[in-house]
């Protein structure tokens, strides 16, 4: 796949440049505005797949087990990811519940599933139907997945509550912490060019 020079335009300043794709690891930045144009990483496909699968497992754990428990005298409550959304719904805060649900559950989950859908067939040198559409959706979804912000929210809540009651960290708190790093690793190992190059090859073959 490597070893060719192509003409491309910077997506942030529209500068036209000739880019050599034949490097194994590193980034090519736009000389005018410093936007990242190409990012190659060794074993990009394997890493992306491994991180995506690990991410899905951690995501499942994070959703099933409690994040934190709260104990005040004899009473205690536990919260899982969904119970916050549920409580907001009970208080008739539908918009807020929707926003929290989308940014902490739906978007990260869909992101991982669509990545798996696109990259797993690539591993076996195939391409899944509607790969282009699905992958475009994945890119559009990325800003709405806010797990790392939610993690900060958990930490702030813990500090606020520790003053008034006993806080018990739950299993999901740990799996969550790891998930943040796995998601970041997924993003940094991912090379969209793998998808586009494969798509182009299949197009050429069918024409």
């Amino acid at each position: 796949m490597t070893g060719f020079v192509s003409l491309m335009a910077c997506h942030e300043c529209d500068l036209l440049l000739r880019v050599d794709h034949s490097f194994e690891e590193g980034v090519v930045k736009c000389p005018r505005c410093a936007a990242v144009l190409l990012k190659h990483k060794r074993h990009s496909l394997d890493l992306t797949l491994a991180y995506t699968m690990a991410g899905l497992i951690l995501f499942a754990i994070s959703n099933v087990f409690p994040i934190i428990g709260f104990q005040f005298e004899r009473q205690s409550t536990e919260t899982i990811l969904l119970s916050g959304v549920q409580e907001l719904l009970d208080q008739n805060m539908r918009l807020l519940a929707g926003l929290v649900f989308i940014t902490t559950i739906l978007a990260p989950f869909t992101l991982l599933v669509t990545l798996l859908y696109v990259f797993l067939p690539l591993k076996f040198n195939r391409i899944a139907p509607y790969t282009a559409e699905v992958f475009r959706f994945t890119s559009a979804l990325r800003p709405w997945s806010m797990m790392e912000v939610f993690m900060l929210g958990i930490l702030v809540s813990v500090v606020k509550l520790v003053a008034i009651a006993t806080i018990i960290p739950g299993v999901a708190l740990w799996s969550f912490g790891i998930l943040i790093f796995v998601l970041a690793a997924t993003t940094s190992s991912l090379d969209p060019d793998l998808v586009w190059e494969k798509l182009e090859l299949t197009h050429e073959r069918s024409n």
């Binding site: 003409l7 300043c13 900060l152 809540s157």
Partner: protein
Amino acid sequence: MNDQTNAWITAAAVGLINCHNCGLLHKVAQAHACCHRCGTPLHLRKPDSLSRTWAYLLAAYVLYIPANVLPIMVTTSLGSTQSDTILSGVSYLLVTGSWLVALVIFIASVFVPVLKLVILTYLVISVQMRSTWHPRERTRLYRLAEVMGRWSMVDIYVVTLMVALVKIQGLADIDAGSGAVAFGAVVVLTMLAAMSFDPRLIWDNAEKNHE
């Protein structure tokens, strides 16, 4: 490098369109068509970039008022109720001594949204005034606005978790306030504003002036 500056050519200048999604170049004659590699509709620049960005920004400015005036969290304990706005929450945290958390919330809920609104408003106005001033730095400002906006959601998540956790029968109960809805809307609207803005417009003006 300096000799090269004048030799810089944009795709638009030679009649090429860059696919937003996969980066494949197409001839402008194919405008209103779709990318033949990934099927994304082709546009020379993001459509109606400035008007869309303005619309989202104005809506965000309007909602920023209730977001700060209305309570984001209402605590009921032992019969008394206490309403907290974003700022009163921060000052409460300061008084009770958790200045680090107060700082985190202040940066995420006050500093970041205001800075993001200011940056985006400045960028849109600078493009409309055909400014040629420091395009590289303005592009960097755009990237900053794009990545930092999400961190404003922290307060929304804190409210969600507090609401879910603090349910002590007859002792304390926490409800989300309508200010939180307005604040969430501000975050979403500024994200949409950043997505609608096309940083290439900054460079288009810089070029026209060179000619």
